[in-house]
Symmetry: C2
């Protein structure tokens, strides 16, 4: 079942001709969720052939411009595309207020724009059939949260041969998928494990930008499968990184290691790097399973 990450922008605040500011889109069973919405997000959506009509939730981590100045343009354009239904923006209070005023310049939107005011305290801010989205507190210059998107437990797989042999009727299949045993008309209990195979594992993805490393962040990330973590600088700029409440590639990798995540993607690169390979190597000395984010990148989080 589809659970994919599209990187739309992985630069930091100063845009360059190589990177766009922060934006990514998760495709969860063909429903799209955007995390951060830097300027140019709507153009990147078109370039990466992501359908506006499938975008239902937008999560904004904090109110630095490079994380949300693409929002007014995106919401306007979704109006021009005659989108219907509800689009929910999850954002801090100050941003919500400003956004409401900007909507006044967008004419009559054909869809319902819902604004969900979020806080810095960890909370589950969204839940649907497929995933939960929860926040955790980052350590940045301004209030900021990360997001963890966790797939819900999935259904077990029917073993076609075994169910045929046991004459399991069609109506009983769904309860088998949910893990229940099958009771024959004669009252014989056939254990679920004989008729099904294990469900696919539920995958979790965490977005962690912008932040200094902190034990609280590491604790929040414990055991997630995939981690996108900012690595604005390399260790040679450690002082600068800390002064600006950012992380180095080394620190991102240390966090990934300490939190026992499985895979790390680093991004939010400073404009000073014309090639991020040194950041990759720096991270890989601590956490080998690291890759560099890049615009246009598509990662299958679950198979």
């Amino acid at each position: 079942m589809r659970f994919e990450l599209n990187i739309l922008g992985c630069g930091s605040a100063k845009p360059t001709t190589r990177h766009l500011p922060s934006c990514q889109v998760l495709n969860v069973r063909d429903n799209l969720m955007m995390i951060d919405c830097g300027e140019g997000a709507q153009m990147a959506m078109s370039r990466q052939r992501l359908k506006f009509s499938r975008l239902r939730h937008i999560f904004i981590s904090h109110l630095h411009g490079d994380h949300w100045f693409g929002l007014p343009g995106l919401l306007s354009t979704m109006g021009l595309h005659e989108q219907t239904g509800t689009v929910t923006v999850h954002i801090f209070k100050d941003g919500a207020q400003l956004l409401q005023q900007m909507v006044g310049f967008m004419g009559q939107l054909p869809y319902h724009l819902e604004i969900n005011v979020i806080g810095t305290q960890p909370a589950c801010i969204h839940e649907d059939n497929a995933v939960t989205v929860s926040t955790f507190t980052l350590n940045h210059r301004v209030p900021a949260v990360g997001f963890i998107i966790r797939e819900k437990p999935k259904m077990r797989h029917i073993n076609p041969e075994a169910t045929r042999e046991a004459n399991v009727p069609h109506w009983a299949m769904n309860s088998l998928r949910q893990g229940l045993d099958y009771v024959t008309p004669e009252g014989i209990v056939i254990p679920n494990a004989q008729l099904t195979t294990d469900a696919d594992p539920s995958v979790s993805y965490a977005y962690c930008s912008d932040t200094r490393p902190s034990p609280r962040v590491t604790a929040a990330l414990e055991g997630v499968d995939w981690l996108y973590h900012e690595a604005t600088y390399g260790e040679e700029c450690k002082r600068q990184a800390h002064a600006r409440y950012h992380s180095t590639a080394h620190e991102a990798a240390q966090t990934a290691h300490d939190a026992h995540v499985k895979q790390l993607i680093i991004g939010h690169f400073s404009s000073r790097y014309l090639d991020e390979t040194p950041l990759l190597h720096e991270a890989q000395t601590i956490f080998p399973n690291t890759r560099l984010a890049n615009e246009g990148m598509l990662v299958a989080l679950a198979h």
Copy 2:
């Protein structure tokens, strides 16, 4: 003396992979003036190697998002570039108020941001050594103005041979350039025309987007040298153009013709066109001296 037009974006409201929303930059003697600031303007500045530090004035024609949603990002980034001096944004009152609130999210800007509230009534809104910038009223769904940038009269050219022959001293050259006659120590008047040649003509450029055609607009444009005029649609979409208070290519050309302008550039193309050549041909049947705008285009307005 340099007077150049850079097209950064010439699409209409719905962005495409072919065009950015409205934005252009005039280079006037190496000082940059931006007209409209659609989303992506700052990235286009970088791509077209226009220096942020030279940008001193930004003129916003109206408050539809595709004409100013790039402003917050641009102003933030100029802060990150440690720009100093004053940057003036000329904008309607509602936009000014929103902009002031957005500036609150940009941290301490190292430059002075001045906001000049403009109205819809024609006015001279800026003047410096080289040009005047004045507004004229457009005919759009929301209050909107066009801009005319006129070079001030230029200095006459010294005729080196004639001034050498007449022994004109160095200190008298500037008054010759300004058109004064030269009086020799003996009291003989040498007419300016014998010592100088004509100044280069002063060139004018008008920006006219978004608008329906109207006699008032045509009158305002009378005799300008260069006209950028929106041509969102072709004549086949005339009804749609008028319903949305836009112009067709035919109408843009008719306005250029009736206002006796010298050169026409059409832009603000609807996303429906994958090739604007038909719009060009449509305009050229009325006004042959027409060209199509395009991102990255550089036009020398004066030589």
